[in-house]
Amino acid sequence: MNATVFGLCGAMAAGLGLYGLITDAQPLRKILGFNLLGAGAFLSFGVVARRGAAAGFGGDPVPQALVITGMVVAFAATALAVALLLQLFNTAGAATLDTNATSEGNDPPVT
Amino acid sequence: MMTDFLLASSGFVLAMVAVGLIRVLGGPANADRMMAAQLFGTGGIALLLLMAAATNITALVDVALVLALLAAFTSVAFVISGSRSDMLEPGAAEQS
């Protein structure tokens, strides 16, 4: 069945996203990895929806609706994460999660 | 027969987009990378329109419309952030 190809592809995207999320030191790249992980999970769920094709629909509409809701929530979470990251950059002068690097560096300007 | 021709045509356009995408992502200049959204703006839309005609799902034309709008929006975002990161280039480029 054709949908299986995309299931495999979603699983691989999720795995790659997880790898990037853990190993990449840059917070922005972690956010990218997290989005990749989420997209892979949505895609896998989309394959489940496709398997549930019945009653004249091309797929089960319930998982499809949940994926749409999930995408909007993922965007909201990404926007908040990016705003936090930019705030970190503005106050600490570097976008890094390494606690030693920020405490050694110049004192953050108080706003 | 017509269906097969249209589907095969969309496969051909996909191959062209794939080759172009590999070329464009590799750079070397950021200006090259900015072309990625443009590539989907023409190739992706041609692909969707061919698929819509092949499968008789007319809603795919709506997807093509949305993609056309959002590809333009993303291209503008590319150009603006690209030009901003170029403004910061002296310093950043020399450190590396």
């Binding site: 495999l8 995207a13 795995g15 394959v47 499809q64 909007v72 926007a79 976008a95 | 795919l60 997807v63």
Partner: protein
Amino acid sequence: MTIGFALDSAIAVLVVAVSCWTIIARASFAAVVGFVSFGLLLTLVWVRLDAVDVALTEAAIGSGLTGALLLAAAARLRTSEFATQAERPSMALRVATALLSATATAALAGALFLLPSPAPTLAPAAAANAGATGLGNPVTNVLIAFRAMDTMLEKVVLLLALVGVWSLASDRFWGGPPSPLRGANTEGPLAFLARLLTPLGIVVGIYILWEGADHPGGAFQGGTILAAMWLLLMMSGVANAPATRFRSLRLVLISGPMVFLVIGLGGLWLGEAFLAYPVAYAKPLILVIEFVMTLTIAVTLALLLAGPPTREASR
């Protein structure tokens, strides 16, 4: 069918290749461009999975808005990028992570392969109850009627995320406008494009909302297109980002969840259940919710992307 299978396989290989690029690319800008391409390719995947509603959402939010957000962040963080690149984790950690990721992939793929053969589905139930709302699009039915609670709470999540972003502003900027989204040279072609594209985009956005009743489309997709058009005006310098203290702006932000809540409580008051629409008025009520929600989604998404207020509110 074989042509279709070849097409699907080619798309799948391309998706995996682009996600690899997103992880391994050296420069963040290149990685984000890879991610945007990934989103655009996913749109094709959703089309091939016969989930056109999801394809529209992916094209609009997944690649469009998320891409613009991450691109702007990559541009801002450019100076800090090379310093952080040095902090690479040890080889042992990377190998362990690779193993963990491979296991996760295998588990996910295995779960999909081991799915029971006539897969469990709610499609017949959704088809049987479609008459209760009078709408022809099953996905809109699920979103607005059958699982309306999810959709309402998701509006609240969007609002909370915006409150979170705004609360990062320092006290003296509270209520002021966010930073301008403008680029280096906005005069000329960009302003021309924004003026030309926005009216067309608004028509397409409303059309997608309207289509959502019976065909793929709806409030999310329409709202995102409207948000993108507003952002285009801001990025090209034709419009300015609004001060966040405006009453009217805040009213639009809360009107979506509020209308949902009021109609939901109305269902309770009429003796049925929370969010149960009286059958005779189901369709007009749903249209009211969808229309108000589109406006709220458009404004919330655009402001989420614009970020926290960074300038003092002018009196």
